[in-house]
């Protein structure tokens, strides 16, 4: 597999980030782990935005990934991280394959509302399930990896290195996807679905594949979140959680695969400091941040980089 310059940079940044984790304070390692897990979910939102669809229900797959990991440990006694994540992704893929049959019939606000409805259905089911801890959720068992059990102090750093490695690989894969025929066809559908149909391509099939792939990526984020936080609850499927993913997607923009990662880290930092500074109205700080981004950088934070590149060319 030959790597392009962009892919080498993405992997290089991942290596630097992982190395930085070794010397970083534990609170920062935890913050970055959570941010990267959320960034994976946001990648799913962005994949659909590139096809012209806004989802207000990506929390569904975030939650499915998290609960599949938690339940596999709780009920099946599975602790292997790789297997747990695989189960989380597999569960989301199966659900997306089913829901996608319906979802891909809808566009615009109808798609957005239907996605929201499905995530809220899951939320409703989970809050009523006493076996799954109802509104409190339940704790996730400590993980192992291919027989290795990290010591209690090592686990956060080890998980950080694993999530950084996965993020690097995911970034490369999504970068390739965005430039593939399927990825470009998503952009074409956003621009003009009728033309795509008259080129002999099925927009619904392309959107279906994209929906399932986005669910898989988001479930991976949910799985990592469960393992990192050590706890899952129905809030993962709540509409505010899904709204947060859309917020981060808008913050970063859809122009590059790195944008959601940068936006998720910035979001985590802004939120942490906003809570610290104004504990009762931190949402206001986030609101102003989004307002500033929409007004000054309507194409998201990534336009800072592309703008610089354009100026450098000129």
């Amino acid at each position: 597999m030959r790597l392009s310059k962009t892919e080498l940079i993405l992997l290089g940044v991942a290596v630097l980030l992982a190395a930085g984790g070794v010397i970083a304070p534990q609170w920062l390692v935890f913050l970055l782990t959570m941010a990267l897990a959320k960034a994976m979910v946001v990648q799913g939102v962005v994949m659909q935005m590139r096809a012209g669809l806004v989802t207000f229900g990506q929390g569904l797959f975030f939650c499915v990934g998290g609960y599949a990991v938690g339940m596999s440990g709780h009920f099946l006694n599975i602790t292997d991280l790789a297997l747990l994540l695989l189960i989380g992704v597999g569960a989301a893929v199966l659900l997306a394959m089913l829901l996608g049959l319906l979802m891909t019939r809808y566009r615009e606000i109808f798609f957005a509302m239907l996605s929201l409805a499905f995530s809220m259905i899951l939320y409703g089911v989970l809050v009523k399930s006493s076996a799954l801890g109802s509104t409190d959720g339940f704790n996730v068992k400590a993980w192992t990896l291919f027989g290795w059990t990290p010591a209690s102090g090592q686990a956060p750093l080890a998980l950080f290195i694993i999530i950084v490695a996965c993020s690097g690989l995911l970034a490369v894969l999504l970068h390739r996807y965005s430039r593939s025929s399927a990825g470009m066809m998503c952009e074409a559908i956003r621009e003009n679905e009728v033309r795509v149909e008259y080129l002999g391509q099925s927009p619904r099939w392309v959107l279906y594949m994209n929906y399932v792939a986005a669910a898989a990526v988001s479930a991976l984020g949910g799985g990592f979140m469960a393992l990192s936080a050590g706890h899952i609850d129905p809030e993962m499927a709540y509409w505010i959680t899904s709204g947060e993913f859309v917020f981060i997607a808008l913050l970063g923009g859809t122009a590059h695969v790195a944008a959601p990662f940068i936006a998720a880290i910035l979001f985590a930092v802004v939120r942490t400091y906003a809570i610290e500074l104004v504990p009762h109205s931190w949402q206001m700080i986030l609101g102003f941040t989004l307002l500033a981004i929409i007004v000054f950088l309507p194409k998201g934070l990534w336009s800072l980089f592309t703008g610089q590149a354009r100026r450098a060319k000129a």
């Binding site: 894969l173 390739r176 996807y177 430039r179 593939s180 025929s181 399927a182 990825g183 470009m184 066809m185 952009e187 074409a188 621009e191 003009n192 009728v194 033309r195 795509v196 149909e197 008259y198 080129l199 002999g200 391509q201 099925s202 099939w205 392309v206 594949m209 792939a213």
Partner: protein
């Protein structure tokens, strides 16, 4: 000559409005057919039915002897019947080259690859070749929104031709194009479609354009085929003059 497209008793009603009434047409391979008619005569409805965008209320459509009623536009495109649009249907935020590459990719497979790059040497060569055929290579890397209307029309037709269709339906290829550009645009289009040996059916309002390029005319009026035949005969038809062209010397009067 072999019949490539045949419609039998084709009807389309939108509530109380009849847009197509018992349309019986046979198009033969290699023909260049012009479709004329005033606004609301049923020309675009006819094209939309034939390309699967609208389902006929009654009647049959045979393409290469096979019924295509109920097939999706993409299935009909894949069967070999492509179309362009009255308003060019492109991907405006993308470059001209990317528009064509998407068309090449779609023509190659109904299942696009998830990881292999869309831009590869063979696709780019194919896109460049069609740009050269239409003489629009200099617009290759320009975003579609910055391209003039006449060039957009050519890109629209080029995208339709990329899948090597047997038949091409052009819905008003010169609409929105200035009078000076029309002839040059149609000369280019007809030269390229002749090279590709495609059967052509095009809707057009400009009688000079129709006379210049077609071997046969279908005149529509109120959803019906009013006349069908050689251009001289159809344009001399008294009913065509009354309901479609506006009198025997209408185009001359308009020119004056």
């Amino acid at each position: 000559m072999n019949c490539i497209l045949e419609t039998q008793g084709l009807c389309k009603e939108f509530g109380a409005v009849t847009a197509a009434k018992d349309v019986n047409v046979r198009i033969h391979k290699g023909e260049v057919v012009g479709v004329i008619g005033s606004n609301g005569a049923g020309k675009t409805t006819f094209i939309n039915m034939v390309t699967g965008y609208l389902k006929p209320s009654r009647g049959e459509i045979l393409f290469n002897g096979q019924s295509i009623i109920g097939r999706t536009p993409r299935a009909i495109t894949r069967a070999g019947m492509a179309r362009s649009f009255q308003v060019a249907q492109l991907f405006p935020q993308l470059s001209v080259l990317d528009n064509l590459l998407i068309a090449v990719s779609a023509a190659q497979s109904p299942f696009p690859s998830l990881l292999a790059p869309m831009r590869n040497a063979s696709r780019i060569a194919q896109a460049d070749a069609i740009l050269a055929e239409f003489d629009i290579s200099r617009w290759r890397d320009t975003q579609v929104t910055a391209v003039p209307q006449g060039v957009r029309k050519l890109i629209d037709i080029a995208m339709a031709l990329i899948g090597d269709p047997q038949m091409l339906l052009l819905d008003e290829p010169t609409s929105g194009v200035s009078a000076e550009e029309k002839t040059a645009l149609m000369d280019t289009v007809m030269r390229v479609v002749a090279q590709h040996q495609v059967t052509v059916l095009f809707v057009e309002h400009d009688m000079d354009v129709v006379r210049r390029y077609v071997s046969r005319i279908l005149a529509f009026y109120s959803g019906e085929v009013l006349a069908d035949g050689a251009p001289e005969a159809v344009l001399a038809n008294a009913r065509v003059q009354e309901f479609v062209t506006g009198g025997p010397n209408a185009h001359k009067r308009a020119a004056q």
